[in-house]
Amino acid sequence: MTSIVLDVRDVHARYGKQEVLRGVTLQVRTGQWFCLLGPNGVGKSTLLHCVAARLVPSAGDILVCDHSVRTSTVDAKRKLGYGCAPEQLPGLLTGRQCLEVYASAKELECVDPEVIELAEALKFTMYLDRFVDTYSLGTRQKLCVLLALLGQPELIVLDEAFNGLDPASALVVKRHLQERLAANRCAVLLATHSLDIVEHYADKAALLLDGKVVREWSDSEIAAMREQGAARFEEALAGESS
């Protein structure tokens, strides 16, 4: 029996007067790879910001491993690993310094050897002592993923994390995440436009439109569409969006 890692309960969120999320409800269990889909500007990143306690919801609540991000923020943050946007990385620190600061901020006693191994697999170690502002988008993206994986988080939150990654590196990251999921060590919440990831890796997917979840696909539905052909999911998504 897997436990619920993320429980989003009727969450509303706004930027100023503009309401971006209008009652989002979803659950993610341990071992699940949950993909959040939707056109640009529908609130995917806003929802991830709320889950990562970067933005306080105007209504509703979010529980990360039973800790509310509103009332037990620090406990909730201890359970999650958030892959920030590449442009948020500090340009005047090196990759190694970023890992060290992030590990310290996450109250870790050491940087996980597993993350260092992943850095080697991603051919990132040669960039560790270079400044982040000299990195390409793909290299920054690798660092964002590594930071998100520090400290054995039970919920990994990634926002378009495969954008800019070369196919080989993307495959390394996907396999690494799959290993963690297979061992029931975590759950993954990924906002993406890549239907390939949904078809081949996701256990569950949801379509967000106008700040609401309008459709969810279960593991079996995704598997069925995978068997029906490559474009089946694309057609289904287009149908829902229109």
């Binding site: 500090p90 600061v101 590990a103 050491c110």
Partner: protein, 248 residues
């Protein structure tokens, strides 16, 4: 002014004409060089880290927030690229040295300008970097005390040493000891108060303007009534801001 003096007959017309000609020529050459260099290189397109200095490669990666404390200093260096420095510091510095001054006097004035620019830049850099660091680390459980200490530790040390050097230079330029010490202490009080507001507001992701205005208005009023009292008051206000930040 030269033209007016020439018209008034106080300076010979040919001297005025020559000076005006040289000014016009220098302006024309400067304009061409400026236009050409602006086209040739886009300074802002270069990475800021080019001006920070090399980092020694290491083999170990250990959890530590120490790198955060070096970030404001690195930011000042990145801002202090030659293109910015020559405009913001060197030109006013050169104009501040009076004709007929000794070389030591000129260099001391130049040192005060450069040091002042650095310390002023460092004051601003802490807000700039603390805000970025806070946004970057917001999804981590970093405690306020760790964040505040890491962001300000090195900058405070640089401010302390820089202010001491500036006070020494002022004394060497002939400023009375009491005045130099008072200016130094006042600057450090301003730094302490500003940094406390910056780290609290960066951590809380809110703008610091209102707290800065209110705090410094209070200091100004107290200083106007009782000379020197603003310094302990600034320390008290800084402690009060930090205590409020630690509660969140």
């Amino acid at each position: 002014m030269l033209a007016a003096l020439g018209v008034a007959g106080e300076v010979h017309a040919t001297v005025v004409g020559k000076v005006m000609l040289w000014i016009a020529l220098a302006t024309a050459i400067g304009s061409i060089v400026g236009w050409w260099s602006a086209r040739r290189s886009r300074a802002d397109a270069l990475e800021g880290s080019r001006y920070v200095g090399a980092i020694k490669p290491r083999n170990e990666t250990l959890p530590s927030a120490a790198a955060l404390s070096g970030w404001p200093v690195a930011q000042v260096r990145a801002w202090g690229r030659p293109e910015n420095l020559r405009i913001l510091v060197l030109i006013p510095a050169l104009f501040a040295v009076q004709a007929g001054s000794s070389a030591v006097h000129g260099l001391s004035v130049l040192a005060i300008w450069v040091l002042g620019g650095y310390l002023g830049g460092l004051l601003r850099a802490v807000w700039h970097t603390a805000r970025s660091a806070s946004a970057w680390l917001r999804s981590t459980p970093i405690p306020f005390a760790q964040f505040a200490w890491a962001m300000t530790r090195k900058a405070l040390l640089h401010q302390l040493v820089g202010t001491a050097v500036a006070a020494a230079v002022l004394i060497s330029l002939g400023a009375p000891l009491a005045n130099a010490l008072y200016l130094g202490a006042l600057w450090l009080a301003i730094v302490l108060l500003s940094y406390s507001i910056f780290v609290v507001d960066a951590y809380r992701a809110r703008p610091p303007l209102i707290r800065l205005v209110l705090s410094f208005a209070t200091l100004a009023i107290v200083e106007a009534r009782q000379h020197g009292w603003s310094i302990p008051l600034a320390a008290l206000l800084a402690a009060w801001h930090l205590r409020a930040g630690a509660k969140t």
